[in-house]
């Protein structure tokens, strides 16, 4: 069985509103549901992802276009009919994004019971390792927690004879060359995207 570890960015890319969702992130979850891989998600990533996703404001993306329409229509650059259609689409976009954000908690909670997905909490060993790592690698506290959670769990799998593990991370800080030896010691290969051949 292939074991795949992910971090906060995968959760964001999978759970984000459809306009920002990554098809490859969804495809990875589909592999887990199909039983082709086991997807390991540190529980702390759900917390961080929830915070970052809910910070998105669809008005921030739609309002500049509305402002453009307000200028462009009297200026003749956009017809009244075009502006009307554009405003309707923008309203639909905002409504859709808000709807998806409202169901975000449900979406993230569902991960805990999804077949092929293992959401796991921080253990004392992981916390201790994070403290050790803070002295030797330069990472933000959240990244340190995620790194130690991934390393400890991957090493446990390797010790149990389940050594085919890969860490999919789009976070450049978690792919620094200074971490290479740590990943090797945990029998982990690292990918910078979510594309896995099971």
């Amino acid at each position: 069985m292939r074991h795949v570890f992910v971090e906060t960015n995968w959760v964001i890319d999978f759970a984000a509103p459809v306009s920002h969702r990554l098809p490859e992130a969804v495809a990875l979850l589909d592999l887990a549901r199909a039983g082709d891989i086991t997807l390991h998600v540190p529980a702390v990533c759900l917390l961080e992802a929830r915070r970052k996703i809910t910070r998105r404001d669809p008005r921030g993306e739609a309002d500049p276009i509305r402002r453009f329409l307000a200028w462009a229509t009297p200026a003749g650059a956009v017809s009244a009919e075009e502006a009307h259609c554009a405003r309707l689409v923008l309203d639909k976009y905002e409504s859709r994004v808000r709807l998806e954000l409202q169901s975000l908690s449900e979406c993230l909670d569902a991960l805990r019971t999804t077949g092929g997905v293992e959401v796991y909490g921080m253990t004392d060993t992981m916390l201790a390792r994070a403290c050790e790592l803070s002295a030797v690698v330069e990472l933000e506290p959240f990244d340190l927690a995620i790194l130690s959670a991934v390393l400890i769990r991957a090493a446990d799998l390797a010790a149990a004879g389940e050594g085919d593990s890969v860490f999919c991370t789009t976070d450049g800080d978690l792919r620094k060359s200074a971490l290479c030896d740590l990943y090797n010691a945990a029998s982990l290969s690292v990918r910078r995207d979510f594309r896995i051949d099971p």
Binding site: T8, N9, I12, D13, H20, R21, L22, P23, E24, A27, K52, G163, V166, T170, D171, G172, C180, D181, Y183, N184, S187, L188, S189, V190, R191, R192, D193, R195, I196, D197
Partner: protein
Amino acid sequence: MTEYAEAMQFEPDITVTEGDPPSIRLVVEAKLRASAAGEGDAQLKRYMFGMNCFAGLLVTPETIRVYRDSFERYAPESITLVGEFPSPPAIREAAQSRVPRAFERAVADWLQDMRVRFWQGQGGIPEPLSIHVLPSIVSGRIEIWNGPWQRTGTE
């Protein structure tokens, strides 16, 4: 090999990322063999669609092809070729070494040079690049992909 497995074998040579969480603003495939340009098309498009990357380049010693998501469809087929022009001299010269890593380095340097020229207010950037590529690289992080780290420590 299945089509899916073939697609999963594809690795972009260079990416430009930006933001938190990071999004891939540009994907670059650098091919030393000109005949490989046509082969890499479908996989590059699939990668761009899958990773929500709306701009891509396929660079060979002879030509640079610029790809852009037209947003016509929610599928890789939405990625279209929007421009093609001769490769600059620095890239053609790097190809003569026949060393893939050196060629990738030359392409990354060319992207960096384009960025510097932009910030210095210099012109002369061909239109497909100035419209579709330059916005992606002006403040992003240019990264040459060295492949997944293996347990043996080799790349």
